[in-house]
């Protein structure tokens, strides 16, 4: 790669004026005795070749090549609430196993907290070869500095090639701090991961609000960090016979010290989480008034499912934010999603497209929802839904 280097000492006012007049793109400016080249520069190199000698130089760079063999293993950060492991951890372990099989590398779990040692074994049963435990009373609550220091210690000692972190509130605070500490790449909210044989990880994620998919790699830095949302990947089946190693890592107390104190922890009221639902009846702006939700609620109950919705219904105050499916809402991976009166924006689709069976009812046959539904019904929901409810009730009474 090449770039232009400004030699400040060779540039006085008259040299600057000469350079400014040479540049055909008006990309050069001189202010406060500082010469600047703006983003308008097209690298035509007229300033280098025709300008005052030594003022601007073309420099070729040779980048140091990383020895990828020094970095081995796929590590998963264990997401937990006071030692209770969050299922996203098992999903990431499942994916880690799949990625590791391509390059024949081990799968690690990084477990930081207090009173966590007894739960470490579970991680071995879900795909980890080795669990690294950082156990200390001082790690009971999540505080960014101590957790970052333990994570840093793990990476320095174990040198994993890849680190997967759940895209939870903690994960999205911890992962970027770690990536910056190691000056390495982090791809957020990956929806797909593939391992290359040279140990480069192919990271795919939505961008521009889900309108395009970007395929990203971290070619010259390690570890390769990713965050992944809940319900994107799948956990392996619990394997009673799986064995592995649990390693107790020494915790340096000075690394726990920081100028942050937890004053109080307030437990949030447990809300029904649509991410866990197997059957979902999702409603959108095709529903014309709030009272019509009654009929959809009834259907949802008959199907043994849960109601969810698109963003406009949350903004209208009809349903709670935790019922929203989409990029700025929850991701669901249900057995069945029945999308009623939903046009199917990319933002909504990003939150549910991995579900097993997607049914859609919409009166507009050109609605984008029909591009992602497995079965589409072009019709009037106000006629179909009541009839469907009748059918189901009749069949139930017949039993």
């Amino acid at each position: 790669m090449a770039y232009l280097k400004i030699n400040k000492n060779s540039i006085d006012k008259s040299a600057a004026e000469e350079l400014i007049s040479i540049c055909p793109f008006s990309a050069i400016s001189y202010e406060n005795e500082n010469l600047c080249i703006s983003q308008a520069c097209k690298m035509c190199k007229l300033c280098v070749n025709k300008g005052p000698a030594g003022a601007i130089e073309l420099v070729e760079t040779q980048q140091a090549v990383l020895d990828k063999n020094m970095w081995k293993g796929i590590a998963v950060y264990v997401e937990h609430t006071y030692s209770k492991i969050h299922p996203i951890t098992y999903e990431l372990l499942g994916k880690a196993r799949e990625l590791a099989s391509v390059t024949n590398q081990p799968v690690y779990a990084l477990f930081i907290g207090s009173g966590i040692y007894q739960n470490a074994e579970m991680l071995l049963k879900y795909g980890a070869d080795k669990v690294y435990v950082y156990e200390d009373e001082g790690l009971k609550d999540f505080i960014i500095e101590p957790y970052t220091n333990m994570f840093e210690d793990f990476i320095n000692k174990v040198k994993p090639s890849v680190v997967l972190v759940g895209a939870t509130n903690i994960g999205r605070s911890l992962a970027p701090r770690m990536a910056a500490r190691f000056r390495t790449g982090l791809t957020a909210d990956c929806t797909s991961l593939q391992m290359k044989e040279n140990t480069d990880l192919v990271q795919i994620r939505p961008a521009f609000g889900g309108n395009i998919m970007a395929q990203i790699i971290t070619p010259q830095k390690r570890p390769q960090f990713c965050t992944v949302r809940y319900k994107i990947f799948s956990a392996l089946k619990f394997n009673e016979n799986s064995s592995g190693e649990i390693v107790n890592m020494p915790v340096e107390h000075k690394k726990l010290l920081c100028d942050t104190e937890i004053i109080e922890i307030i437990k949030k009221a447990k809300e029904i989480d649509i991410s866990e639902a197997e059957i979902i009846v999702a409603v959108g702006r095709g529903i014309k008034s709030r009272k019509d939700l009654c009929m959809l609620n009834e259907l949802s109950e008959l199907l043994g499912g849960q109601i969810a919705c698109t963003r406009p219904l949350v903004e209208a105050g009809w349903l709670d934010p935790h019922k929203q499916i989409g990029l700025s809402g929850r991701t669901v991976k249900a057995k069945l999603v029945l999308a009623v009166g939903i046009s199917g924006s990319v933002q909504f689709a990003a939150g549910m497209r991995n579900s097993d069976c997607i049914l859609a009812i919409n009166s507009d046959k050109n609605a984008p929802i029909f591009d992602i539904a497995h079965y589409g019904f072009v019709g009037n929901l106000y006629e179909i839904i009541p009839m469907l409810i009748e059918n189901i009730k009749e069949a139930n009474y017949a039993i």
Partner: protein, 261 residues
């Protein structure tokens, strides 16, 4: 309190499309705007300034037209702003952007840095925490409210996944805020009329402590985009059309065969 708010100018809409035949990205030609999440960050800064006194300085990294975003913040009530712009910043990924911002922030004296949670174009939500790491200060994300600033400590409520934590941290530190934690005030017409353009300055790479170009732009980035492509459409699909009666029947049968009813 000296507060810095990091802001970004983003495309006016995220309605972009990949042309399936040429692979080229088509963008609606709508004007750029101030990242919506940043409005909440600016509002919080102004609220703290009103409560504790001090100054609010906004900082943005982008081409010189990003000055518009800075102006909007000034119309809302910010005192001054900087545009960090340099050709050598082109191609910056999150790490290069965060490092560049940290170099800009270090040029001024600050107690608190406030960032919006994410932008509507990159939407990674990483720049805040990474910038804090480069500044060598603590950070907290998902701030819900600020309880108190006293004796060089800030106390706030932050959202974790199952709990809300009340935390006290020594200044300086960095916080990120999500949408809807407050109601951003509108730009003031009076401020717009009386704007002092000298309160906006700009920085380029040569103004920074670290002049090593390898740490910025494409060279300073760790990730590369290999390609972009449109989201997959479901190939395996069946569309039913007809009377409501027929449709209901088909739907019911499907649910039955899937053992839902």
């Amino acid at each position: 309190m000296e507060i810095v708010v990091c802001i970004k100018q983003v495309p006016g809409t995220t309605n972009v499309e990949i042309d399936p035949t040429t692979g080229v990205m088509k963008r609606d030609g709508i004007e750029a705007k101030l990242n919506p999440y940043d409005l909440f960050a600016i509002e919080l800064a102004l609220f703290l300034k009103e409560k504790y006194g001090g100054q609010v300085h906004v900082m943005t990294m982008g081409p010189l037209q990003a000055k518009k975003a800075v102006l909007e913040a000034l119309y809302m009530g910010a005192d001054s702003g900087s545009v960090i712009s340099d050709r050598r910043f082109a191609g910056s990924d999150v790490i290069a952007t965060s490092y560049t911002l940290s170099q800009g922030i270090e040029k001024i004296k600050y107690d608190l840095v406030i960032c919006g949670k994410q932008t509507t174009d990159g939407d990674t939500a990483q720049v805040g925490p990474e910038t804090a790491e480069f500044l060598g200060i603590s950070h907290a994300t998902n701030i819900v409210s600020i309880d108190e600033v006293k004796n060089n400590y800030i106390t706030f409520k932050m959202k974790l996944d199952n709990t809300i934590q009340i935390q006290r941290t020594k200044l300086p530190c960095l916080i990120t805020v999500d949408k809807d934690i407050n109601t951003p005030r509108l730009p003031s017409y009076i401020r717009k009329r009386n704007i002092c353009y000298e309160s906006i300055n700009s920085y380029c790479l040569d103004d920074f402590e670290d002049n090593d170009e390898d740490n910025y732009g494409l060279k300073g980035s760790a990730t590369q985009v290999e390609r972009i492509f449109p989201p997959e459409k479901n190939k395996d699909k069946k569309i039913f059309e007809g009377t409501s009666g027929t449709l209901t029947k088909e739907l019911y049968n499907l649910l039955k065969s899937n053992k839902i009813v």
